[in-house]
């Protein structure tokens, strides 16, 4: 039970437990003998029941009962078979044993499981099961075994969701500090929503009622978290877009891109969704250049896990060599074919069709290859303020235009805004008298939800307030500081990317003549105390990115920036090579600075796995590594670095100032990266 201190054992108790142990041992020996000899007589079952009543945790004993149950059903005589009362009596006996075991320990997994098994054989009364449940749920209202079993019975016996919902209301009225009851409520309401049951569709009315219901709980006791968790679920129900939506792409809609011609014209196309999706293929997405439909296109998810899904998907298109025409502008059209084949991870199809087009022109440039590659400097001195007339800014503009046109489609209905506005007013009031962490967090979430719904009209009206709330939370609740920091970073990035004007403030122009590697503009998000990256949908165009002097511990999300060729991550808190995993997807990356991080300061990346081994890594172990290491025991330890850097074609790398970097490692890098020209400021020959 919750909140009840355990008493230390008295000598009397110890004696009693010694006696109990002796009794269990003797019963156990006899039981195992029966079990081994497949004896399923009445006496044997009684012995087993006695054992389980004293020790309900004994799984073998429950399994024996299942065997006995089936044995006794099969071996019964024909007369008994005809007699349904006989079967019923066998089942009743099982239920009785379980009930007694539960009286000993109402949280016994084995006992509850056995009951499920028996009840699913049929022939049991709903009434009795509900009575039993009421007893156990009264004894401990948060007994999750009982709640689980309740859902099982409700499903088996077709008890209506409405009736069960009323039960959760009653339980919450008795004591609202009950996670299980709130949770079951959210489960039941999800069911009703899905069925579009009467009274639950549209969801506006029920959401209003539920917000009021849970408000009573959080206002009565703001320190009790169970209500807040439910509130979070409600907020999610209010704001969530019901299906996956394509929110951004590279190249952006209606843009003109200019490609240098080398031996072939090849460029990436990135589709970016509001949530991870699966099912992007040449069947679901049509790619058309001029009038030719490209059939054999392979889309791959950009994701560091390997489940065949991702928020971003990429393919590389090339304009066939024979069609080259320097004066020609190629019209490329990409549209969803059967968008129902594209689904979210929970299986919801992206049922709204989408399409976008852009134009590609080709220009003839001398290839860089013959020229010597000078070290690219990414310090303040290398940049000057941006010339807004650059045609790159036009490209940028199309991101914001794309956003607004798309926004109209997902414009939230008025009631959602009103609902959230109402919630904001209430929680602002609560915070005037209660200095409560979870209240602040909720307000921050509500404000962001409100902004995300209205962003086309009044962009990011509450950002300053939200940032302030997260800063306060970092001080107020240090154990969860990292979480607040991450949220802070995401909000800050939302603000930075909220409009073209604010984004341009962070765009700098290279003083030197732009090379094909750096491009002409560098997005500098340095020294912003960022701990993670977000708002990727607005950054797909970025070629040069400066994230130095932040507090990044993860760069998840960067994998979608397929144009990225120049990346500065120096002076951050990246703690392992696996934290650099997203870099594996950046095939255009030429210049990388990861100097002055914390790589190697933690021997094991506990974020990923507890035991560092190639076998437990999320990506397949590359057998080429062994070939590469060639039995060199010194190199075998570098397999993590190998998986990140092995596939990259880096020309310049700064990695000094990390614990993992020593002479051996440097020579490993030199051996691995053939194209490397500069390493930690030294030119390589």
């Amino acid at each position: 039970m919750h909140g009840r201190p355990r008493k230390s054992a008295t000598p009397v108790d110890e004696n009693a437990s010694a006696l109990k142990a002796a009794k269990i041992r003797s019963l156990q020996t006899q039981f195992l003998q029966n079990h081994h000899n497949n004896i399923y007589t009445k006496e044997a079952l009684e012995l087993n029941a006695k054992l389980l009543e004293t020790n309900p945790e004994y799984m073998t004993a429950w399994n024996y009962r299942k065997l006995a149950f089936e044995h006794n059903l099969i071996s019964q005589s024909d007369a008994e078979k005809a007699d349904s009362d006989h079967i019923k009596s066998i089942i009743d006996e099982e239920l009785r044993v379980v009930e007694n075991a539960l009286r000993t320990n109402f949280k016994s997994y084995g006992a509850w499981h056995h009951r499920k098994w028996v009840v699913s054989k049929g022939n049991s009364s709903t009434e009795r099961e509900l009575k039993l449940l009421n007893m156990f749920q009264k004894q401990d209202t948060r007994n999750f075994h009982a709640w689980n079993y309740r859902r099982f019975i409700a499903g088996l016996k077709n008890i209506s969701d409405e009736k069960e919902l009323q039960y959760t209301t009653d339980m919450i009225n008795d004591n609202f500090s009950n996670y299980s009851a709130w949770h079951n409520r959210s489960v039941l309401l999800s069911n009703l929503l899905e069925k579009k049951a009467e009274g639950y569709f549209p969801k506006e009315t029920f959401l209003t009622e539920e917000y009021e219901f849970v408000r009573n709980a959080v206002f009565t006791d703001p320190d009790d978290q169970s209500g807040w968790f439910y509130h979070l679920w409600l907020l999610d129900q209010t704001v969530k877009v019901d299906m996956p939506v394509m929110v951004s792409s590279w190249p952006p809609c209606d843009s003109d891109i200019n490609l240098p011609v080398a031996s072939e014209v090849k460029f990436p196309v990135v589709l970016y969704f509001n949530e991870p999706v699966e099912g992007i293929s040449s069947h679901t997405v049509i790619v058309q250049i001029e009038d030719d439909v490209f059939k054999d296109i392979t889309w791959s998810p950009l994701s560091t896990n390997k489940f065949g899904c991702g928020q971003a998907w990429v393919t590389h298109l090339s304009i066939p060599h024979e069609k080259f025409n320097f004066s020609k502008i190629y019209e490329v059209k990409i549209k969803s074919e059967d968008s129902r084949g594209i689904t979210s991870l929970s299986g919801v199809p992206c049922s709204r069709p989408w399409s976008f087009a852009f134009r590609v022109s080709v220009k003839d440039v001398q290839p860089d290859e013959g020229q010597s590659f000078g070290r690219i400097m990414l310090t303040d001195e290398s940049f000057c303020t941006i010339d807004t007339n650059l045609n790159k800014t036009n490209l940028l503009k199309s991101y914001f235009e794309l956003k607004t046109s798309d926004d109209d489609q997902i414009t939230s209905s008025k009631w959602k805004l009103e609902m959230i506005d109402n919630e904001i007013a209430h929680y602002r009031e609560l915070l005037t008298w209660a200095d409560c962490k979870i209240g602040k967090l909720t307000l921050a979430r509500l404000l962001m939800a409100y902004d995300s719904m209205t962003s086309s009209a009044t962009p990011i009206a509450h950002v300053e307030e939200v940032l302030q709330l997260y800063s306060e939370l970092m001080k107020l609740d240090t154990p969860h500081q990292q979480y607040y920091k991450d949220e802070y970073s995401l909000v800050l990035l939302k603000q930075v990317t909220s409009s073209m004007e604010s984004l341009l403030k962070h765009c700098w122009q290279y003083k030197s003549t732009p090379s094909s590697i750096t491009g002409s503009i560098c997005l500098r998000l340095n020294s912003l105390s960022l701990s993670r990256i977000g708002s990727i949908e607005r950054l797909l165009w970025v070629q040069s990115l400066d994230l130095s002097h932040n507090q990044l511990h993860s760069i998840e999300g960067l994998e979608a920036l397929q144009l990225l060729s120049c990346l500065n991550l120096s002076h951050n808190k990246l703690a392992s090579f696996t934290a650099l995993d997203p870099l594996r997807f950046l095939k255009s990356l030429k210049v990388l600075n990861v100097s002055h991080n914390e790589i190697g300061s933690h021997t094991i990346d506990t974020r990923r796995y507890q035991c560092s081994s190639p076998m437990s890594h999320t990506i397949d172990y590359d057998p080429k590594f062994e070939e590469f290491a060639n039995g060199d025991a010194k190199l075998v330890n570098f397999w993590e670095a190998y998986t990140v850097f092995g596939g990259l074609n880096l020309m310049q790398l700064d990695i000094v100032g990390n614990v993992a970097v020593d002479e051996r490692f440097v020579s490993f890098l030199v051996k691995l990266l053939h194209g490397l020209k500069w390493l930690d400021g030294e030119e390589l020959h």
Partner: protein, 528 residues
């Protein structure tokens, strides 16, 4: 008076203790003394148990309220070594006012069990429940819980008392901010009470309310915590059950200190959920409060106490030289001797001084055919000071009980009202205000708008408040104006300590079984 022959002789004639009157304090003393191994004779001039704590039929109640029976005088005979002092009765009730609007009630007279000391309830965690468990007298009584409590105002509204976290959550009338304030205060008090009990001094020190605050008036502390008037009134009058208007400043007779206020809140909250089958914090004994003295009498009888009802004591025998008590003379003429004598407060001996300026209590009993709230059978209603009329100085408490408590015929409801007062006039004024607020008195036709229960019968009376005293004989206290028995039980155990300084008042049984039961609290039988 009946013939002498009708009084049986009592044998033996010598006891450690003689107790006269079977009210709750006397019964507890008799049970405690018997448990401590004393020989006890328990007498009562009445034909029923319970004296002023009894529950009676309608008829018996009326005649008891009006009785002024005189005890026959002896001619103060003097013997060589003994002074004989006459026992006088001191009527506790005055200004008795019976009104009947429905003659049919008389037929049901015997189906009523009306409390003389109502309104009275037990808090699940209070002293009386502990004492019942400790003395094992609980086996003779069953309880049901009081379903709800309300605060009333002058406009006839009854507002639910949000008395616990879940009640605050469920309440439909409080603003969200009020919910927060009320529950925060509950938590503050709970934190304090836990911290005081806790061993972990360092961690819990900050949760303890300072001594300065504890010694200051509770009402001031509530102000300091910035609680609005509505919440303050709920806490003071409907949870802490304060009598006098705490906002009256200097003129308030009894200012509750924070320490006491917090203890009362603690008692209320520890009562909620003490017994798994009792929903609220208050319980009431089936068949009426009169069951409690009877339970202790039965307990005493089991321990060897001798019981004789209908047996008045007419005089007290004192040692001529020392003036010390030595025995009693019964109406039968028999003389009995004992070391100690305990009498209920309606008896005085001529030699003792007559008490002046006795404080008063106005009580009322009403009977109706309908409940204040359609779905609620048993409930408590509080009218805080100044809620019914401007100069209402004390809070008025009303207890509604239905037939499921076996106190009235089915389909009827009994209401007990009480209020402390300076004089009969003021007391009656309060009672009438409450009655007007709750009931309608139209006997013939009722207009459809009238939702108030119609009054069938009422009895209003003023009761003297007399505290227990120790002299040559020990006198027990009269029923007080509180809702529970806590103060009475404190006084009773003090009297017992004075009587028997070396004996324990219901020693805890060393039997581990019973202590276990005390802890999981399965002992008090609640009939649900």
């Amino acid at each position: 008076m009946a013939e002498t022959e009708s009084y049986p002789p009592i044998d033996p004639t010598n006891f450690d203790l003689i107790v006269v009157g079977t009210g709750l304090p006397e019964s507890i003393i008799a049970a405690a003394a018997s448990t401590a191994g004393k020989t006890v004779l328990h007498l009562d001039p009445n034909p029923f148990y319970g004296s002023h704590y009894s529950s009676l039929t309608l008829q018996d109640l009326v005649s008891f309220l009006n009785s002024h029976s005189e005890i026959p005088k002896t001619n103060s005979l003097q013997s060589d070594d003994t002074t004989i002092v006459d026992v006088n009765t001191r009527p506790l009730y005055s200004d008795v006012e019976i009104s009947s609007y429905d003659d049919s009630l008389e037929e049901h007279s015997r189906k009523f069990n009306l409390d003389l000391c109502g309104p009275r309830v037990l808090f699940c965690a209070d002293l009386s429940v502990n004492l019942l468990l400790q003395s094992t007298a609980n086996q003779y009584v069953e309880f049901k819980n009081i379903d709800a409590s309300y605060v009333g105002d002058g406009n006839g509204n009854l507002m639910n008392v949000p008395d616990s976290k879940s009640a605050v959550f469920k309440d439909k009338t409080l603003e969200y901010s009020e919910k927060n304030q009320l529950n925060s205060f509950f938590k503050l008090v709970q934190g304090h009470l836990e911290a005081v009990k806790s061993v972990d001094v360092v961690i819990d020190a900050e949760k303890i309310i300072s001594d300065d605050d504890l010694e200051s008036p509770f009402v001031g502390f509530l102000d300091k915590m910035k609680l609005p008037p509505k919440i303050k009134s709920i806490i003071l009058y409907a949870i802490a059950m304060v009598d006098y208007d705490q906002d009256a400043g200097e003129s308030c007779k009894d200012i509750l200190k924070t320490r006491e206020g917090i203890d009362r809140l603690g008692l209320y909250h520890s009562s909620v959920g003490r017994f798994p089958n009792a929903l609220g914090s208050l319980i009431y004994p089936i068949y009426g409060q009169g069951e409690l003295p009877q339970a202790f009498c039965r307990r005493a009888a089991v321990k060897g106490c001798l019981y004789v009802l209908r047996m008045p004591v007419i005089s007290i025998l004192l040692n001529k030289d020392s003036g010390n008590y030595r025995g009693v003379k019964l109406v039968s003429g028999q003389e009995l001797s004992s070391d100690k004598l305990v009498m209920d407060p309606s008896f005085t001996i001529t030699s003792s001084k007559c008490l002046q300026n006795i404080s008063k209590l106005a009580r009322g009993i009403c009977i109706t055919k309908s409940s204040l709230k359609p779905d609620i059978s048993n409930c408590l209603v509080i009218y805080p000071p100044r809620s019914l009329y401007p100069d209402q100085a004390t809070s008025i408490r009303i207890l509604q009980l239905g037939s499921n408590l076996a106190v009235c015929p089915s389909g009827m409801f009994v209401f007990y009202i009480s209020v402390v007062c300076d004089d009969a006039l003021e007391g009656k004024k309060s009672l009438h205000a409450a009655i007007d607020g709750l009931f309608s008195v139209h006997t013939d036709q009722t207009d459809s708008n009238e939702l108030k229960p119609t009054l069938l019968w009422s009895a209003l009376y003023i009761q003297d408040l007399i505290e227990g005293s120790v002299g040559p004989v020990v006198t027990t206290p009269t029923p007080d104006g509180n809702l529970n028995y806590n103060n009475l039980l404190d006084a009773t155990s003090m009297l017992f300590k004075k009587l028997y300084p070396d004996d324990e008042f219901f020693p805890e049984t060393s039997n581990t079984d019973s202590s276990d039961k005390l802890e999981d609290d399965s002992e008090v039988v609640l009939d649900s």
